[in-house]
């Protein structure tokens, strides 16, 4: 209960501020049917949601969710494999690292049109955008975790004559798992961003959440715009929650930083 109070106070302040803003903006309710143009107050959020609109939002949610999930899973795989490869080969690590940094600091939005042109406006292109934006924190955290295994633990495996694979699976990956999960936590949010930003450049086919929100924006349909934004936010939260749950199950019982 004590922990709930601060959260409730913040929630009440946000809702209060939201109402204050909605009713203080001059032209907010100047539309012909009286619906909000800029910010719908919370209790009128779902007003503009007629059947076809709900269907469009549902389709877009499905596309963006599937893109984010597939992209995130692939990013996790690519990130861990890259981290392992770089921990095995110093020359691969030093050769690859500057390019990974360059890729990481390049805003994904300028790469997206290039990817859509090269790959074509397909599901694969959406996933590629998602993977590109989200694999780096996993790769770098995996590499860091694999390299941070204490020497004495390596010695235990060396004395047991452990193969490289056994050392990786029995020692390095478990030891690096807290670090890998920290990377996944960052990447989870990025994957959702990637799936939605990537969508902006897909001018054909069913729109995802990114393109749908621009349609609602251009049509000045504030209610559906807000609902779409909330759904994107919920997807991000769900991703985050999955990683936090994985951390709670696999890492927290034994890990004491």
């Amino acid at each position: 209960m004590k922990r709930l109070v601060p959260a409730l106070v913040v929630l009440a302040s946000i809702v209060g501020g939201w109402y204050a803003l909605a009713y203080s903006l001059d032209n907010n309710f100047a539309s012909s049917d009286g619906s909000a143009l800029i910010i719908p107050p919370p209790h009128r959020l779902f007003e503009g949601l007629n059947g076809p609109t709900v269907e469009r939002i549902a389709d877009a949610t499905q596309i963006s969710l599937v893109t984010a999930v597939v992209g995130f899973v692939l990013a996790a795989f690519v990130g861990v494999v890259l981290g392992v490869a770089m921990s095995w080969s110093r020359s691969l690590a030093s050769g690859l690292w500057p390019w990974l940094i360059a890729l990481q600091v390049t805003p994904i939005i300028v790469l997206t049109p290039i990817i859509v042109r090269v790959v074509g406006p397909s599901f694969a292109a959406r996933v590629l955008v998602t993977v590109l934006i989200s694999f780096f924190p996993i790769a770098s955290n995996t590499l860091f975790g694999l390299r941070s295994v204490p020497r004495a633990l390596h010695d235990v495996f060396t004395l047991a004559g452990a193969s490289r694979m056994r050392r990786l699976v029995r020692l390095q990956l478990p030891a690096a798992s807290p670090s890998i999960l920290a990377g996944l936590r960052v990447s989870a949010g990025l994957a959702v961003i990637g799936s939605i930003v990537g969508d902006f450049f897909f001018t054909r086919g069913t729109p995802g959440l990114g393109r749908l929100i621009t349609y609602f924006f251009l049509d000045t349909r504030a209610g559906p715009m807000f609902v779409t934004a909330f759904i994107a936010s919920l997807i991000g939260l769900a991703f985050f929650a999955v990683v936090v749950a994985a951390n709670r199950i696999f890492v927290e019982p034994w890990h004491r930083p």
Binding site: P150, A152, L153, D155, V156, T158, L159, A160, G161, L171, P174, A175, S177, P253, W254, H255, R256
Partner: protein
């Protein structure tokens, strides 16, 4: 692998081992042997190369010159001979993500479950088998580390200041437990320590090392019969032996 016929009864032999890290010489011309079933202690000031010598004996480090032979096989970098060499690390080196039982089984043969059970019982850990390492006290961690290493049935046990991080009461209890485990499993042990009384209480022979670059300045035979009792620590003979070791350490013998 070159096979050398070792003198019978010798489990581990270091011959004229010298080592330098870059320009810094840490070991100079060290020779020693550990016979079957014997406990040998290596005492010396910190930084005298004790740990380096132990790592060379384990094959974790290739010395600049000299050889280490265990049960007829050369010990090289990453190769630990024909005999099974166990190593007990200062900081216990447990896997934090494995429970007590999982750590105890780590190095054991899959068919040696009964031995693991016996060792867990002997080290007082049987009731704690589902605990995580972070839930154990320092003494329990070291007991687990010992149990884990012995579960691999080593012929030679190398110990790097195994009891150094423990309080005195726990340390004395562990001395007796270690001696009991040794009496049962009869491994040859080479133990690095900076505690003179520990060396005198546990070892059959004590080698004293000089400051870096470390070399052996004295070999002292410990005359006390086994099993040794705690009362031994308060006897005049024990004090005299410790005093002798201390004088060699100080370089005034």
């Amino acid at each position: 692998m070159t096979n050398i016929v070792a003198p019978s009864g010798v489990s581990l032999r270091a011959e004229r081992v010298s080592h330098a890290f870059g320009d810094a010489a840490v070991l100079h011309d060290v020779s020693l042997e550990v016979r079957r079933g014997e406990i040998v202690a290596l005492v010396g000031p910190s930084g005298c190369g004790k740990t380096t010598l132990l790592r060379a004996c384990a094959g974790l480090l290739a010395p600049t010159s000299g050889t280490v032979v265990s049960d007829g096989a050369h010990i090289g970098n990453g190769r630990n001979g024909n005999g099974r060499i166990g190593f007990v690390f200062q900081e216990s080196a447990l896997l934090a993500w494995r429970r007590v039982e999982g750590n105890a089984r780590l190095l054991a043969d899959p068919g040696d479950a009964a031995l693991v059970d016996r060792l867990l019982a002997a080290t007082g850990l049987a009731a704690h088998r589902t605990k995580w390492p972070h839930e154990l006290s320092g003494g329990m961690k070291m007991r687990l580390s010992l149990a884990r290493t012995l579960a691999a049935r080593p012929d030679v046990l190398l110990l790097d200041e195994p009891f150094g991080a423990l309080d005195q009461i726990t340390r004395h209890a562990l001395h007796d437990e270690f001696a009991a485990l040794h009496a049962e499993h009869r491994f040859a042990a080479l133990m690095v320590t900076h505690a003179i009384d520990e060396a005198a209480y546990l070892a059959d022979r004590v080698f004293v090392m000089s400051h870096a670059p470390g070399s052996i300045v004295a070999e002292i035979t410990v005359p006390f019969a086994r099993p040794r009792r705690a009362a031994l620590r308060f006897s005049p003979e024990f004090a005299k032996l410790c005093g002798g070791i201390a004088r060699h350490l100080a370089g005034t013998a």
